[in-house]
Symmetry: C2
Subunit: 186 residues, 2 copies
DNA sequence: AAATCTATTTGACAAATGTCAAATAATGAA
DNA sequence: TTCATTATTTGACATTTGTCAAATAGATTT
């Protein structure tokens, strides 16, 4: 299932939506370290990870900060830019050789114009990612670095094997050294 | 303008939407300290603040944590519960005597069934609040407590005069004592 | 395998923030 | 106004996390 966030919606409606979305999806292979999106430009695509792993990141005081990871069946884009049509501060980078499906903003916009009944699913998608984000805020506010780390490991067990420690560290808002120390604690 | 987040959309479309939404809006007066929503129940309303101020909060290890403030023209709900139709961890409390407009989930659902063209506006609304939330995450991750405080003061200057320090402190993720010290620094 | 590059860990110390208790200030009720 | 309650500030100290430098471990290339 590609639109992971829509998995609970009515299946027959969804089938039609998928058919229409298939038409505007473009599948492509990319190598590790390639950028799907570069900062300073408007992000015109929503990416679905079919195989592989991607992260969005940006630079804060010269430091590379991971904002989001996406693995198989997940989605990623420079969300602020994709929504607001303004230049993005984010880069999107592949951390493994990957198979990526991309949907252009324009195509999606056109499809929604043509079939406004799909707005509902976009709305549901947004609701889901909003909830995810709200949970992340709670996490940052009310859990220690160790708790955040444990929670991430639990929710995405094999992320650690696939991603550098420094990316995990910046994602949970701590330095690499602190994360290293946390891991060795019993 | 009540739907603050929709202010950039096409005005003629919006006028019709507003007319329809007016029909499902209920205006009510509440006193300071009243709860618009109580934790442990499903939140069935979206609230618009016409006059006054509200906050959503919950308890973490016995401590009262503010998740969100809403002042005039803003919206508030127990968003996780409103979206997912499950019991909420949040309470919504009024911090002043207030005039509140409420929209029931059911009425909104029915209206969207009847006029699916409005889905688009809900989508835009969600996009906007998603961006707000994403900014809040960046804020928490990459700004010091003092920077977060200054930013809040700048974005909502009179919040301080209207809200207890402890609520501001928990909102920006620090203790009341730390906030008190931050404020006296030059 | 050796050399090189990259990732992770460790040490020593500094800075930021938290905790708990108490003092002071502000507010609201009698 | 006075008293009682609530809000804010301050002090002393503990804990968490950051910074910078160096050491070690692991991976990749030759």
């Amino acid at each position: 299932m590609i639109f992971e966030k829509l998995k609970d919606v009515n299946e027959s409606d969804l089938a039609e939506l998928l058919t229409d979305f298939q038409k505007i999806m473009k599948r492509e292979s990319f190598s590790k370290k390639e950028l799907l999106h570069k900062e300073g430009t408007v992000c015109n695509h929503l990416f679905l990870i079919e195989k592989g792993i991607a992260r969005s990141f940006y630079y804060k005081d010269g430091k590379d900060i991971t904002a989001h990871f996406a693995i198989e069946n997940g989605t990623i884009t420079a969300i602020d830019s994709f929504i607001q049509r303004k230049n993005s501060r984010y880069n999107i980078e592949l951390l493994e050789d990957s198979e990526i499906i991309s949907i252009s903003h324009q195509d999606m916009h056109d499809l929604l114009q043509e079939k406004p009944q799909y707005e509902k699913y976009i709305r549901i998608f947004l609701e889901q990612i909003y909830i995810d984000l709200a949970e992340r805020i709670e996490d940052l506010l009310f859990h220690t670095a160790k708790e955040r780390y444990d929670k991430l490991v639990e929710s995405t067990p094999n992320l650690l094997q696939r991603v550098n420690l420094k990316h995990i560290a910046s994602y949970i808002g701590i330095t690499q050294e602190t994360l290293s120390r946390i891991r060795t604690q019993v």
